[in-house]
Symmetry: C2
Subunit: 320 residues, 2 copies
Amino acid sequence: MSATPKPTLHLRDMGSFHIGGRSVQLANQPAYQRVMSAGGEPVIINLNGTYMVEQMYVQYFLPERSNGKGPLVFWHGGGMTGAAWETTPDGREGWVNYFIRHGWDVYLCDSVERGRSGFAPFPEIWPENPVIQTVNDIFSRFRIGMHAESYHSDPAQRTPYKNTRFPLHAFDAFTRQMVPRWTHTNKAIIDAFDALLLRLGTATIICHSQAGPLALQLAGRHPDRIRALVAVEPAGIPDADFSNFTVPVLVLLGDNIDTDSRWPLIRKKILSFADTTPGTYVLSLPQLGITGNSHVMMMDTNNQEIADLVNQWLVKKLAS
Amino acid sequence: MSATPKPTLHLRDMGSFHIGGRSVQLANQPAYQRVMSAGGEPVIINLNGTYMVEQMYVQYFLPERSNGKGPLVFWHGGGMTGAAWETTPDGREGWVNYFIRHGWDVYLCDSVERGRSGFAPFPEIWPENPVIQTVNDIFSRFRIGMHAESYHSDPAQRTPYKNTRFPLHAFDAFTRQMVPRWTHTNKAIIDAFDALLLRLGTATIICHSQAGPLALQLAGRHPDRIRALVAVEPAGIPDADFSNFTVPVLVLLGDNIDTDSRWPLIRKKILSFADTTPGTYVLSLPQLGITGNSHVMMMDTNNQEIADLVNQWLVKKLAS
C-alpha cells in the first residue's frame, strides 16, 4: 500500500487465537421480539443461556529469523485496538512490522472488550455503558493540539502544536480506528494478559497509555514472567507495592506535556515512581532533542526512530 | 503455534487501514458523571461533539509472489470477525494463510460494528441493542449438533452430528471468537465494502453466512467491481433484481442440512436463485461425497480440502 518498496517479510508462522475469559450463565431473562433485518419477520430472542466473556484476541507474527529474545507482546491503550501498532494512519509501517523486521516474535493483542476480543452486551454482566471519545477530544487527549477547541472539521482551521510530529493530514483516518471502551474491566484485562503470559512462559511487553498502569500491576504480580516492560506514555502509576519490583522498565514521554491539562501531573507520578523503583528509566524525548511527539508516538512521522531507541534498549537489557 | 513445520510465508507487504464511515454530530446531550476506574474520582462526561462511525477495518497480507488475480476480500458472517478466517480454533492454518500461500493478495475485513471496526455506542446513532448468541445456540446454528440442547457444558455429554468435521475438542475455543452484532446495520456494512472495492478497483470476494446476501446485493449494484464471488453457506438470497447479474458465483453448502430447522428453506432459496441466475454454481459437499461439514467449514478438519475446491474454481473462472 506504500510507494516505497520494502524488504520482503519472511514469517515462519502467523495466525491468531483467543485466550482467557469466563463462562457466564444468564437465567430468568424475559424473551423479546426482534426484527433481525429490515422487512423480516420478528424473531423471538431468548437471552437465557451460557456466554463466553472477557476473553482476549491475540494475533501472532513469527519471523523466520527470530532474534531469540522471546515473545514481544503489544498492549494498546484506551479506546484503541491492536490496529494502533500496525500501519500508521498515513500508510507508513507501524511498530508491528518494525519489530518483526528486527527478529521479534510479535503477539498483537486486542484487550478484553476491544476489537476482535468482543464484549458482553448485557447490563447483567457489565452494568455500565461503554464510553467513546469525540474527535475533538481525540485531537487534544492525544496531544496533537492543546484543547478540544483546537480541532475543527475543516483541516485548514485546526490549530495543532506547531512542532507536532503527528501526520496531520491523516488525523481523520486516525479517528476511524478509535473504538468504545468500558471503564470497569481492568481486572478482566489484566487476567487475560496474565493468561497469555502463562501460555508464553515469559515475554517482553510494549504497552501504551491506559495499558501502562495495568501492565505495571501485572508486572508487580508476576515479575518472573515479564522480561522487560516498555511503557509508551503510561496514563498513570498503579497504587501498588513496588519495593520488590525487578522488571526493567523503560518509560517514553513525548512533547508538549507542559501545556497539557492532565500530563504534568501524570509525569510527576511517573518520575516519582522511577525515582523509587530501581531498573526504571524515563526517556523524555524532548530532553534527547526529539521534539513534537504526540501521545501516539508509534504513529508519528519519526516512529521508526523511536522504535530504534526502544529496540536498542531492549536488546541491551535482555543481553545482560 | 503448530507442531507441523510449515513453509515460510513471504510477504511483500502487510498492514491495515480503516475505510468508509461517516461523521455524526451529537448535541444537547446532558453531561453525566462517571468513575473511570475503581477508586477514582468521578469525571464529567460530555457526549456532545463529533464521532466517526460505520468505518471498516481492513488488514492486508500481500504475498511476495502474487498470482496476479487481484485482491481477494474475506467477508465474515454474523457474530464473527476477520478472525474466523485465520487459525482454526484447534490451531490449524485457516483460509487466510491458505490463500496467501496460493499467491492471493488477501484483504481480511472486520465488518462495520464488528471487531477492530468499532461501533457506535449511542442509541442516538443506532437505536437498537446488539445481540449475541449463547454457546448453546452456537452449537446448533453452526450445525455442529442438531439442537441447542445438543450442547452441554461437559464436552463428554454433548451430542454433535456423528459425522461432524468440526474440531469438537476446540468448540469452547471457538465460542471465544463470537462477538455481539447489530441487526440494522446492513446498509452501513455494504457501503463500507463498496468503499473498499472502489479503492481496490476490482476484487474477488469470499463471504460467509450473513455476508452472503449482503455481498450478493453489492455484486448486483457493482458487478463490474467484483471478479468472482464465493459464498460459504449464505444465510439468504436478497430480494433484488438479478436479471442482468454477471458475476460468477460459487455457493458452498455443507452437510446435515436436512435435519436442521432453518437450512432446508435457505437451501431452497439458494437453489432457486442458482436456477435463474446464469454463472451461479451450487456445490453441495455431501453430493461430492464430502460429508460432515458444519456451517463453519473454513474451520472444519478438512478446511484445506475445501479451500482447494474454492481455489481451483477461482483460478478457472478468472482465467476465462
